[in-house]
Amino acid sequence: MSVASSVVSNPEIAASARHWPALSLTGVRKTFGEAVAVDHIDLTVQPGELYALLGTNGAGKTTTLRMIAGLLKPDGGQIRIFGIDALRDPIAAKRITAWLPDEPMLYDKLTPLEYLEFVAGLWGVEPVKAQRSADELIEVLELGPHRHTRCEGFSRGMKQKVALAGALIHDPRLIMLDEPLTGIDAGIARQVKELLTARVRAGAAIILTTHILEVAERLADRIGIVDRGRLAAEGTLDELRSTAGHDRSTLEDLFLSLTRRDALAS
């Protein structure tokens, strides 16, 4: 199957993007042996929306994202990305998505430019567009002086920037990020946040997990709180406040109150 079409140049996908939510999960469930990692999660993310998935360690956030990215097959439920059934047609779904795990997926022996060249080839990005995107991303992320240096000596933040450039080179419509700001300094974090905000403004949808609640509070349009595999609460910050019955609470207060309340209830 040819992969030489990006979302912008694929009229079928572009048309479907106008009518469907960017991401729709219905009753998604995943177990590992006896342990239930994700328990019938329903959620929707609209185009141009940044959705933050919060939860304690082991709550099922990363498993949820890995299922959306096509890296894990759910035991049940449905995943639709811009109307494409991601379980039936994973290739078409992957063509318009990007997945950035918490550990950057890099080849230490390649330079950033060679890495982008490889990733663009994987997504079948048109050569002229790939070249232009690579130049733009290298400039925006200030990777220019290092574009011909192998990644092996890079700091974690630098590696994260290269991986992010790789994730964005094919102009994805749905971007999934697992802990994108963990372990990077404030300067790089700001660059990453600005780039993500610009993508959302351009119409892309972003779903990210984070333990830095301030990031979710500042960046996210809507927040979902996952607890032991279930979506415990969802909505804007104000909606979450009213759900918890605390009008002036911080997200941290809400998060702790929701997750502890659930823990006590169980």
């Binding site: 992969v3 997926m105 330079t111």
Partner: protein, 530 residues
Amino acid sequence: MTFTPGTFLWLLANDLKLNWRRFGDLIGRQSVARLLLIGLCGGTVLHLAAWPVAVWLSPRVYQADSAPASLVVLAICIFTWMVAQSLFASTRTLFDRADLDLLLGSPLPAARIFAAKAAGIAASAFGSVALLTLPVANAGALVDRVEWLGIYPALVGMALIATATGLAVSIGLFFLVGPRRARVYTQLTGAIIGGGFMLGAQVVAMLPVRFQAVLSDWLTSTTFSNAADVRSLFGLPVAALRGDVLSMCIVVVLGLMVFAAAVLCLGERFARANLAAAGAPADAREPGKQQKRTRPRFNSSLGQNLRRKEWRLLVRDPSLFTQLGLQIVYTLPVAVLLLRSETLPTALALAPTIVVIAAQIASSIAWITVSGEDAPELLASAPVAPATVDRGKLSAVALPVAVILALPLACLASVSLFAALITAVVAACAGASTALVNFWHPMPGSRRGMLRRHSQSKLIALVEHGFAILWAITIVFAMMGTWMTLSPIAVVVGVLFLCHTGHRRSSAGQTPSPAPKQPAGAMQATLHQP
């Protein structure tokens, strides 16, 4: 037995415990009772196998007119092997680090930590030879004479000297060429010492008889001034191996002295080297150095893209070349042995070796490209069917194997063009079969642990080695022109069919679940079946 925390013996016991657990991983996690049973059975089998060897060797070692040159060669072989093992172990200690950061961050003196690490390396050097030689010593003591037990102290003394030599070489190289190059250089030195001497000994045996006699006389006169004088410096290990009590004592004391001197002299340097090695990558390149600029090629096909990426990663990792080189070096003595045979034509001696090398190298490179993949989630999240990625990677394996085999095939062609042609075909089949096994049954791990990958699956190791042998038999039968050529091929095809039927990699359109990267041997292959 418990030791006072922080003492040399406590550190050594901790190191030996970790080594034992790594060894235990090779046979899988077992209960103590089962381990004892396996040890008992293995020991019995080794001793039964050693029995006829001891009976055959006894008159050759202990009779007055036995040729001492053979024993000298044996002693040098054992010693060089131990030095090579020490070099590899000291490289691992310095560069893989493991618990070194923890230990050197503690208030314990660096010299004591180094002494414990060095003793652990000596134990592994001893163990690498002991497994095969000590059963012969025990059997010899039972069937012939008690002097056979002299092998025990002789090996201990030699292991201590070999460890001191290995550590001195590796730490010396560290300061001579710098931390970034030292790893590769030390591994290369180990490969040359370990494989080179065995190869050299076989090459010497191919020399005309007149030259061999001169060499034998020289060795004998160097090691023994006369038949009775066994106490010259080079003759000591030989005399100790023969059970001479005084020589045994001298070898052990000498070993302890050299080892202690190395620990005292190198302890401080080791700590400095260790600090310098922190974060040093496994290649000889300086950090931050700009890669040669090439025009980015965004217009290549997916296959070209995958091949270029795999070849770049291969070419830029010298430690992989060292490991591939080691595989070839250890295969060559077989070829030399076959070439020595007066009954075998040259082509028939070379062809099976080429086929075995093809099978092993293809298997290793396939493992690097599939199981050693640094970014499995990137490939899995790309809009490409896994089968397409596999095809691209499989084609990437072919070129390096062809390059490595080009020279030996050209040599074979100079002897017989027909033999070279069918060897090329069989080598291609051998390479493809072992590569396919690695594609169908990946064992995720760090690229650095290529040679230790078989600790993850003994069955896959058995299949790979079995394929290499079966294809070697195939080429021999094919060159003999017998219909039996088809029988090993049938076995390979049958096993391949079973491998394919049971393979855990997902088929086209489905997605493999990438496993987290850990050193080879530290984890089991885990791929989910969507």
